[in-house]
Symmetry: C2
Subunit: 434 residues, 2 copies
């Protein structure tokens, strides 16, 4: 590497254009901090003619992105296309075998192929970095990989999807239902036209799998994540939770259970009731926040903007500054061969409290039927509220259980399955424990 | 550096003993993350016989700490003595000229001599690191130096002293007055026997000066910090603030005003009224939190335990892991010669709202006297409450001003100075603006 860090930008959408603006606007500062200037030596995207709100004329456009993998005058290729496979992955492999450091914001690709890419990078002695892939502008990859590196981490969890948090906080404030708020978020550009990656928890799961691997020194296991999204949350649930002293947040939760030889990885993306005294209860709008609990550090919280051109570009360029400084090391904090392959935890044994909500027929005996099923399964009820009435005449029964095994709650639900008293699938929301 | 990172520990008090426990307990994990084991090759403190709650017999005790500066078998010296000058500073200089990397938790020394030491480290090509010096276990030095490195930062501020935050939150919860809570905190070991470094804001000011230098690329200027502590906060102030929708926190606030050529550094440690919607309002007990506002990242928040053996050791060992990985660079994010020397901001021009509290005689005309002084100085009042009565018969008048220059508030106070209506110096608390 010479007196300049020469980068190629592949993908000039929201994040790509943000990186150009950032590298231009903060050029002098970056050079002082990085020890050398960052120069955009080449760019590409699909459509050369598209107006991207930045002047591209100073930069060399290349039609074939594969060229960057071998060009002498490039040190780092920055991939901002997206997609777990396809051109992003092909490019990553070509770059790492072509001697180029590789920086990406692509959580889908890192979640699915991160270990393969990290191993290629290690073998080639190249940097592979992805700060922007998790929680946008928040330096949480660095926080775990380096800041908390001295700790055995027991849990890492957080609010990992800004769209979901935006929707949940808006429901909280306005009392509107999910569908209304989603439509508004889409109209205002806070949610994609096809929002399923966000609201069904896929995006949060991508990020969670990366955080878990880094935190615990385990292999990535995206497929091992138990996942559900926020579609089924009613404004009545949010009101109920508030009355009980909680807020509802979509949380990605990872925990390493048990000790060394017998460790098991628990990963879940799910709505949680968060007690008001917990900092995550106060994370509003599209903000993200990650908590890591270390055996010496205690609870660390990292919070900030989880997406957007500016914050995401900030994380991409932080990676570039690290590379310019020569501060690079194993992408997952330790060499890939050192990562543990651990079994998945069985969730049934987990102990916790949860919130249950039933939409039931408005007639005598229904509550007795539900509470009998709970008694039979050994679920004990801490509080219960029967309230409201849907347009279709059903009644909402909401309750919070005492601490108990999740399997007992599951047994209750299967006992009630198919009961004509239930007008809809019951909702289970876990309660975030300390 | 060889296959092991060999360290010497100087100072075996709270933090030193914590480092030993951490290095022992997490040894295997640290070796995997650091790429090599960390070995404690030598230790020292004042009193060899003292029981420190850890078994020191595996470690070589050395009477003269200066030995470590030149011993062949040491890579890094870790200073955990404390004190801005004296043995800590002598050791630091000897180590950096003796070819040893240097890690410290000593905010007083870094605040006063950090640039000198950083320059020596640069010249010798050695690491000089101090993550533990600011906000204990929170990796905020790394967060600013690396995570936010791509940004022009406009403000950095936070809750930097756990003792003060513990006292303020306890006053909030119990309604007790400052002196009572302090006595209790001392009895429980949360506050020093001589608490003045904490409660008068000196400790927070040490940390603030370091954060400001890192964030803005400016020289350290501890003496430029406008500082006051929390001694004068009454439980009535806290109740008043709560009624108005605020919590009182001791905040270290640094801001770089104006543009490049004409930039001015504003640094203040002061109690602030923090609006309830701000994350710092929810930081309770001895927790610390730092906010950094970048031109691309937006607002970043780092929160966690600001002190204690475990968290502080976590930060010390994070520095050691960085060194083992070879991830070292300029201590203040850029070489010392690149740091800007900027003038101090004049605080009078600053615009803001503030909370004013007067203890006045309980007789007619006093309120008119105060409000006339405010009118004459051009201070406009947003809300005013006259309430409570001290044992000595005086009345508390609390008010919040509209936005305006701080100089106008100062003018009000000097106009009222010496007035027999005032039973005590008025209290001014700034209101944290967005
Ligand atoms: N947006 C955020 O806030 C955010 C936050 C964190 C991480 N990320 C991640 O950052 C990456 C980029 O996101 P984005 O929001 O910037 O996406 P985007 O706005 O959709 O931009 C994608 C860019 O990739 C280009 N592209 C797509 N397929 C291509 C191909 N086959 N060949 C060449 N160029 C191709 C597109 O070209 P055209 O413009 O010519 O169509 C476009 O410029 C994704 O991995 C995303 O998950 C985004
Ligand atoms: N405590 C925290 O939570 C915390 C958090 C962040 C940063 N820090 C910083 O960490 C440093 C250490 O703090 P601490 O709380 O661990 O202090 P501490 O408990 O008072 O320990 C200080 C240690 O230094 C030793 N020492 C003092 N003078 C010495 C001398 N002249 N020669 C050799 N050893 C000497 C003492 O030896 P003896 O034990 O033999 O008397 C003791 O072991 C300070 O700079 C502090 O500001 C502390």
């Amino acid at each position: 590497m010479g007196e300049t860090l020469n980068i190629a930008l592949v993908g000039l959408g929201t994040v790509g254009a943000g990186v150009i603006r950032l590298v231009e606007e903060n050029a002098e500062l970056i050079a002082r901090r990085a020890g050398k200037p960052i120069r955009i030596a080449g760019i590409t995207a699909r459509d050369r003619a598209k107006d991207r709100g930045v002047d591209l004329s100073p930069y060399e456009w290349v039609d074939d992105m594969g060229e960057f993998a071998t060009r002498e005058d490039i040190d780092v290729v920055v991939e901002l296309i997206g997609g777990a496979d396809g051109p992003a992955l092909t490019l990553a492999k070509e770059c790492l075998s072509g001697g180029k450091a590789f920086v990406t914001a692509n959580k889908a690709m890192v979640a699915h192929h991160g270990l393969d890419l990290a191993q290629r990078a290690e073998q080639a002695g190249l940097a592979f970095k992805y700060e922007a892939a998790v929680a946008g502008g928040i330096p949480v990859i660095k926080g775990l990989r380096e800041g908390a590196a001295a700790n055995r981490l027991s849990r890492v969890y957080g609010i990992l999807n800004g769209t979901c948090n935006f929707i949940l906080s808006a429901m909280e404030k306005t009392g509107q239902d999910f569908a209304e708020v989603l439509a508004e978020a889409q109209a205002r550009g806070f949610a994609e036209a096809d929002p399923s990656f966000d609201i069904d928890g896929v995006d949060a799961a991508h990020k969670l799998s990366i955080l878990a691997a880094l935190a615990f020194g385990t292999e990535l296991d995206f497929d091992g994540i138990e996942r559900s999204g926020i579609r089924k949350i009613l404004s009545a649930d949010i009101a109920q939770a508030a009355a009980l002293g909680y807020r509802i947040r979509l949380i990605g939760m990872a925990e390493l259970d048990g000790s060394n030889g017998d460790a098991r990885l628990f990963q879940r993306v799910h709505p949680y009731l968060v007690p008001m005294h917990h900092p995550l209860a106060h994370v509003e709008g599209s903000t993200n926040a990650v908590v890591a609990e270390g055996n010496f550090s205690g609870r660390l919280l990292f919070q900030g903007a989880g997406a957007g051109d500016g914050p995401t570009a900030s994380a991409v360029v932080a990676d570039l500054i690290d590379i310019a400084r020569g501060e690079i090391g194993p992408a997952f904090s330790m060499p890939v061969r050192e990562l543990d392959k651990v079994a998945r935890a069985e969730t049934g044994h987990r102990i916790g409290k949860c919130y249950l909500r039933f939409e039931v027929a408005d007639r005598p005996g229904v509550l007795a039927e539900i509470t009998a099923a709970m008694r039979d399964a050994g679920v004990s009820i801490e509080s219960l509220i029967q309230k409201g009435r849907s347009p279709d005449g059903s009644v909402l029964v909401a309750m919070v259980t005492h601490e108990g095994p999740e399997s007992a709650v599951a047994a209750t639900l299967s006992a009630l399955k198919g009961s004509p008293s239930l007008h809809a699938d019951p909702l289970v929301v876990h309660i975030l424990g300390d």
